[in-house]
């Protein structure tokens, strides 16, 4: 099962839409609430990353009975040093974004913490592709 969302850069007002919808589906599938929470947190972080840093992007969510794979593909500045970006507290967010309560530099590390696999591909000046995988606990 596959669902796709389009994300506009800078549109903080609607950020969180994808995570709410995915959450409902996971609840219907009887996924463990602690898994749902992790997925929703990771997805929300990644969604906000696109809104905060990129021009536009898509989120493709693929669900099967064992796992969820979320691919976030954006057109944006890309990440120059992925290892640095993974560090807690590191942020390139503008002060405007920080004033809105985002951009604390916890994004990528938080996504990693809440997922089983995190793959980042990025080309500076073109964009970033995040692949988040989370396996469901057996019920």
């Amino acid at each position: 099962m596959q669902i796709k969302f389009a994300i506009e850069g800078g549109d903080f007002a609607t950020a969180g839409c994808a995570s709410s919808q995915v959450k409902k589906l996971l609840k219907q599938l009887n996924i463990d609430p602690s898994d749902i929470k992790k997925i929703v947190v990771a997805l929300y972080e990644a969604e906000v990353n696109i809104v905060a840093h990129a021009y536009r992007g898509t989120i493709t969510v693929q669900i099967d009975p064992q796992k969820i794979i979320i691919v976030l593909d954006d057109e944006g500045p890309g990440i120059a040093d992925i290892n640095l970006a993974m560090q807690e507290g590191y942020s390139t967010a503008t002060s405007k974004v920080r004033e809105m309560g985002f951009g604390a530099g916890m994004g990528l590390s938080n996504i990693k913490k809440n997922s089983d696999e995190l793959n980042i591909e990025s080309i500076v000046g073109k964009g970033t592709k995040l692949t988040i995988t989370k396996f469901f606990a057996t019920s």
């Binding site: 099962m1 969180g16 995570s19 709410s20 959450k23 409902k24 589906l25 609840k27 219907q28 599938l29 009887n30 996924i31 609430p33 602690s34 749902i36 929470k37 929703v40 947190v41 929300y44 669900i63 099967d64 009975p65 309560g101 469901f136 019920s139």
Partner: protein, 459 residues
């Protein structure tokens, strides 16, 4: 899901209901379906919030209640009522008159439920101080919110404050007091005047409690009418009947919005209105909310002042109650109260059993089957019109698709599909008509000039 029997206070009067679908659209848990032209409430989903009752144009929803004559089975007849009840009486009617009217009705003891609030406040402080309890704490004051969390936000049940509410506090306190004064347990009858359906359901099948201490429930609308009639016809004395004792300003204002949040030492939020509550629970569940320690959440706009069994305007009720409350003292410590009851014992009785989730969203407990059903429902959605018209008897096309995969509905319930199939010659018009009649009742297509807005309205 361990609670098999689940009590509901909201019922549908099948004589009055004509399946107008207003209630379908407003139900926050999609608990209503129309069947044979009448609204049906799915018991497991309903949280007794009363939104359906509010939206009904023909008053087809009613709230079951106990017979007032039941009180005469007891020697000590205690009436408990939330202080918000007082707020709906014109300000020139005194509290003394209201109390005396309740005595005239036949009660022997008259108490507001929010007392002695100090015991509850201290029991909650002790609960909040325990670091093993999950933050943000979510108040259990509004039973509709507790049930909403159980069915829609199962991951948040641990955040519910596992301490009972004022209606239990006063019932426990009064009972203990009467027992100490020599009354026999079987002689004590405790009756609760309720502002809403959810509190009736909470009394009849309490969440996190084995059995309710309350013996009966009285509809506040009925109590209001009885009291008003007595005051108007017979006048009621202004002398104190001697029960004011323990009510405080904090207790009086507890049922209003911010009644609890304003007492919390820390970051507290008060949210009222069921849609607002839902929006905020989504934030909490997604961990998108800012740091909050305590959440007061009430299903009704303006909290209990907006309860479906209250008469009068909710904003005026709030003002009225605030005005009356200024006459009462502030809460003190339980030590200063010099109560005859054992405070520690009452605090112990105020603990609730663990509140368990009972998610109603799950398509199947077996995940592989749930997945299959979800895929099927999503394929069905390709064909449904997605206008959520309610003509199929379900609140939305998605709800119909989910009902279909649960074998509770058919594709032919959709009138769009019926039209299409007739157009394609796949179904005989006679058969299509029969299908709609099955959903909406045989007389559905006969003109009725007595209906609201029609030529002979109400005749």
């Amino acid at each position: 899901m361990d609670q098999i029997h689940f009590h509901h206070a909201l019922k549908v009067d099948l004589q009055k209901c004509f399946g107008c679908t207003h209630c379908l659209q407003v139900c926050p848990t999609e608990a209503i379906r129309i069947y044979k032209g009448k609204a049906n409430i799915r018991e497991g989903r309903c949280v007794d919030c009363g939104e359906c009752m509010r939206s009904c144009p023909v008053n087809a929803f009613y709230i079951e209640q106990d017979d007032l004559n039941l009180i005469h089975n007891y020697r000590h007849r205690v009436v408990l009522f939330p202080s918000v009840m007082i707020g709906q009486f014109p300000i020139k009617i005194t509290q003394e008159q209201i109390y005396n009217a309740l005595l005239k009705i036949g009660f022997t003891h008259v108490y507001e439920v929010e007392q002695p609030i100090e015991i509850l406040m201290e029991a909650r402080e002790e609960y909040f101080a325990d670091p093993s309890h999950s933050r943000p704490f979510i108040s259990t004051y509004c039973p509709a919110v507790v049930r909403l969390i159980q069915v829609r936000y199962p991951s948040l049940v641990d955040h519910l404050v596992h301490i009972k509410v004022p209606q239990d506090l006063s019932a426990i306190y009064i009972k203990e007091k009467l027992l100490l004064q020599g009354a026999k347990e079987e002689e004590i009858g405790i009756f609760y005047i309720t502002p809403c359906a959810a509190k009736i359901a909470a009394v009849k099948s309490p969440v996190g409690e084995k059995q309710s201490i309350v013996n009966g429930v009285i509809n506040m609308k009925e109590a209001y009418n009885r009291i008003m009639t007595l005051i108007k016809q017979e006048g009621c004395k202004e002398e104190l009947p001697g029960f004011f004792g323990r009510i405080t300003r904090e207790g009086m204002l507890w049922p209003l919005t911010n009644g609890e949040a304003s007492l919390f030492k820390g970051r507290a939020f008060a949210i009222d209105g069921i849609q607002n509550v839902i929006q905020f629970l989504e934030l909490i569940e997604n961990e998108e909310a800012p740091d909050i320690d305590f959440l007061e959440m009430r299903s009704c706009d303006e909290s209990c002042a907006g309860g479906i069994l209250l008469s009068g305007n909710r904003f005026l009720t709030v003002q009225n109650l605030i005005k009356r409350a200024t006459k009462f003292p502030s809460a003190r410590t339980t030590k200063e109260l010099n109560l005859i009851v054992d405070i520690e014992k009452i605090k112990q009785l105020l603990q609730t059993d663990k509140i368990k989730p009972r998610s109603m969203l799950i398509l199947d407990t077996d995940r592989a089957r749930a997945y299959e059903k979800m895929q099927k429902a999503r394929t069905i959605m390709c064909h449904l019109p997605a206008i959520d018209c309610g003509s199929c008897g379900a609140p939305s096309c998605m709800a119909l698709a989910e009902d279909m995969v649960q074998h509770k509905a058919k594709m032919s319930d959709c009138i769009f599909m019926q039209q299409l199939w007739q157009h394609e010659g796949k179904i005989h018009p006679e058969k299509a008509f029969h299908n709609v009649e099955k959903k909406w009742g045989q007389n559905r297509f006969k003109p009725n000039c007595n209906k609201k807005g029609a030529k002979n309205e109400g005749l």
